[in-house]
Structures are given as C-alpha cells and as structure tokens.
Amino acid sequence: MDRVKLRYMKNWQKLKNNPKLWEKIFVREKIIQSIREFFFIEKFHEVETPLLVPAVIPESYLEIFETYLIDRKNKKHKMFLTASPESSIKKLLAVGIGNCFEITKSFRNNETDSDFHNPEFTILEWYRTNATYENLMDDCEKLLLHISNKLINNNNQNKIVYQNKLIDFSSPWERISIKEAFKKYANIDFNDCITRNKNPFNSEKISVIAKKKGYVIEKNNTWEQVFNQIFLNEVEPHLGISGKPIIIFDYPRPMAALAKIKTDNPIFAERFEFYIGGLELGDGYSELTSLKEQKERFNSEMKLIKNQNKIKIKKDLDFLNALKSGLPKCAGIAVGIDRLVMLFSNSKTIREILPFPLEVS
C-alpha cells in the first residue's frame, strides 16, 4: 500500500456553520423523487440489484474494486463491487421484467483527483424493451424537462443557469453524430481514421492524423486513446455551448462494447451520450443481444484488461446465460445522478454536492 492518506473531506461539518450548503444537499432528494415519479407515470418497474458480486462484465477501460467475502469456514472468496447495475438488470430483462429502472450506487476504482468523478457514485439506469437508442434519446428530453419542472419554481421552468450559462431544456435538443462532429470541429474525415481490412480499428491511420495535428502518439496507444484525445481536445469543448442540451450519437465500435452494431455501417454502434452545460450526463445504447458477438467482445476485453495490468476480474458467465436464454430487443442508459445534482445546484465540482466526498491528500 502506498503511504498516501485517504480522507473524507469534512464537508458535513461545514453544513453546521453554513446553512446555505444544505440547499445543494436537498437538490438530490428532489431530483430522485422526480425521477421515481417520471418512471411511475411511464409504468416502469423499479428494481434493486446487488452491489457485491462474484463476477463482472469485462470492461477494459474501467478499474474495478475487489474485495473478499469470508464464509463461515473462514474461507476467502474474491468479490467485486459493481461498476454499474447493467449485468444484473439485463438478467432480469432476459426473464421478463420488461421496462424497468434502478437508482443505485456504483464503484469505479482509479477515479480520484477529478471534479466530475467520485470513486463511489449514484447512478440511474433504465431499460426499455422493444425499443432502440432513439427512444431513449426522447426519454432523456422528457425526463430532464420533468425534473426541471419539478425543481424550478418560477415561470421559466425549462431554463436554469449553470456556471453562468443559460440552459434551455425544452425539446428538441441538438443532435449530432460522432462522424459529423469530427468533420465539423476537428476537420477529420472519419473514413481516414480506419483501416479497410479485417481490423479496421488498428491505430495506424488515426495516429498519422493525430501526429500531424501535434499530438504525441506512442506505438502502444490504442485507437480509442487517440480518438478520445482528439475528441476531448477538439470536439467536446464545442458541445452544448449554445445552452441547449446536446446528444452525440453513433460511436465507433471500440467505444461501445455492449451496444448493437449499426446494420448499415458496422464501423459504428448505436450508442449515444448527452451533455448539458459541458457536463457529460448520460450514456445509452441499443443493447447487444447476440450471444456470439458478446462472447467475442468478452474475450477481447479480457485481453485488454490483461495487457493493461488491470485488476484481474472474474468474467460474469451468468451474464452470457442471460443472452443465451434470450435478451429481448431493448435499449438501456446510465445517467449520473451526482452530475444532475451538480447541474441543478449550479455546482462546479462533485465535491460541493457530497457531504462525504472521498479525497486523496
């Protein structure tokens, strides 16, 4: 163990001397209440799934929390804390729950030192059966309008100010595909980033483009790393600057391990994200339901986890059983509730809205 000390910043103590801080804390309960109300009206079931699990879906970009369960015979069993409730909810979908949502805690390791991440955070996921990611985009517009109407007590219920920017939740939101956004903001033609062979996401071509732009690219950088570095530097800063929420959709396949591949263009998958006021708030997709495809992606993700020396996980084979028994056509999305609280309380950092933020000093 490193000699770095972990501490809970004493935010809760500040609440005593500065009663105004309670307002930021109470925004959370109002948001959660209005989310439950929204899904009640939409006739969704609310589900509860475990946080402590013996196996997880391999996702190479995440670092997982591992722990041990000690049984009555003092035998240790390796366990993990879930990075999202996705695998359990999909199991419920496979056996017929239908439209459902969950509000729960999730855990992601290696995510300290950030204004937008806390290692333990609150997530909202919902799944619509017989639906695609486009239905979820509409849900997002409706849900955010519902929340703002519940939270804002004035005549401008569709509008808030976040970090000196006027945000207007009313429909329709802006929508742009990754391909269009790269052309518009980074002046990159997507076709120039991929190789026309068996392995289109070999990083060779995109690295040439990135190097020309002045990025430092090493041989071991993956296609995803190069892509995201360009995205974060040249595309993301433009998203939603008009004050309208923006949906960015059709992600390249390496960034959509559990999403359905587009039938008309297999380079992309049916995944989208939405941003409001510069905050990345949600990530949804038409779910991959093919067992064969999912098995392949499990294996390639396991390889990446090993190559990156990440915590050794146990893959959730039971999840593959769910797909085997037949996951209905569905679409699902995860939304960060802490970031919604930041948005509606006009807070710049996640630390401000948590009475017990976790910080490394």
Binding site: N110, D113, S114, H117, V216, N233, M255
Partner: protein, 192 residues
Amino acid sequence: MSKITTSDFQKGKFIEFKNEPCQIVEYQFVNPGKGSAFVRTKLKNLKSGRVQEFTYKSGEVVEEIPVSAKEMQFLYKQNEELIFMDPRTFEQVSLPLSYIGSFSKFIKEGDIYQVLVYDGQALGMRYPQKVRLKIIEADEGAKGDTVMGAKKIVTLETNVKVAVPLFVKQGETIIVDSDTGEYVGRESQKNY
C-alpha cells in the same frame, strides 16, 4: 530537461508544451464514457501569459523544465519587465511582468524573492502568501463604509489599494494576503 509522465503532474510545475515553456495551473483526471483515462490541464504559456487547455492521455510523457529557485532582489520595473539581481554575484535577470499575474500589485523594490530560473532565464517566481507593506495614504477622518463592515480604503507603498479596519493608520505596515488582496493584520511594532 527531464521526462515525466502525467502522474507526476502538480500545480505550479513547469513543462514544455508544443516547444514552449508552460506552467501547470490546474489539472484533473477525466474518464470519457467507455474510454480510458485522460488528464485535463490548464497550461499557462510563460511567453504569452495565455492560459490554454490541453488534455493528455493518462501516462503520456512530457518534458519537465527543471527550474531552480534562486533568492534574488527585485530592483525595478522597466518596460513591462521586472529586473532582479543575485545579491551575491550581482548577476541580473529579467522577468516579463505578465508572468507574475496579479502579484505585480504587491512586488516591492529592494525586497528579496525566490525567482525560478532555468538555463539563465527567469521563468517565474514563488509568491509569498502574505506580504508586508506600508500604508502611504490613509484618510484619517474616514467614517467607514457600513456595507463593508466599517472599513476604509488605504493606499500601500506599491500603489495598491486595500480595505482595512478604521483603526489602522497611515505609516503603519500591514499584512495582506497576496492571493485574495485582503487585509490580514497589522505588523507588530516590535519587529522594527
């Protein structure tokens, strides 16, 4: 120059960015959805004074500029440059005024500061959190502004104006927080 990675990043460190010397003003980790980790930074270009954002891949290698801190005396301002002298060797260096930002309001001729030097060139300086400056102008009859909680505005020897309590008098030396520009207290007379 020495190579460091993003995990060595610290506020205030000097690095090279696109062949220009820069100082890390702010940095934080970000994980885009379904993506690996990145480090978002705000870098202040020392030549232009401009602050720009850049996002590094987590683990990316950058060149650190190994600056050393040297105790030097501030002599005077000349054409937007600050001239410092090493009191032992009498060697002089100049530092563009834009490099020190708002601290320029508090820098006092004749005082000793820690100047950050690399390859014979001054790249910046360390700012004392508290500065001691003499009041050269104060309205003794001021009734105070009740909105400000009975305070008056005085002028210090570097010509900066600061709000102080009514009992503070002209000729006194006061302590000011150089970050916020706020009055901290009076210098005790015994120190002189």
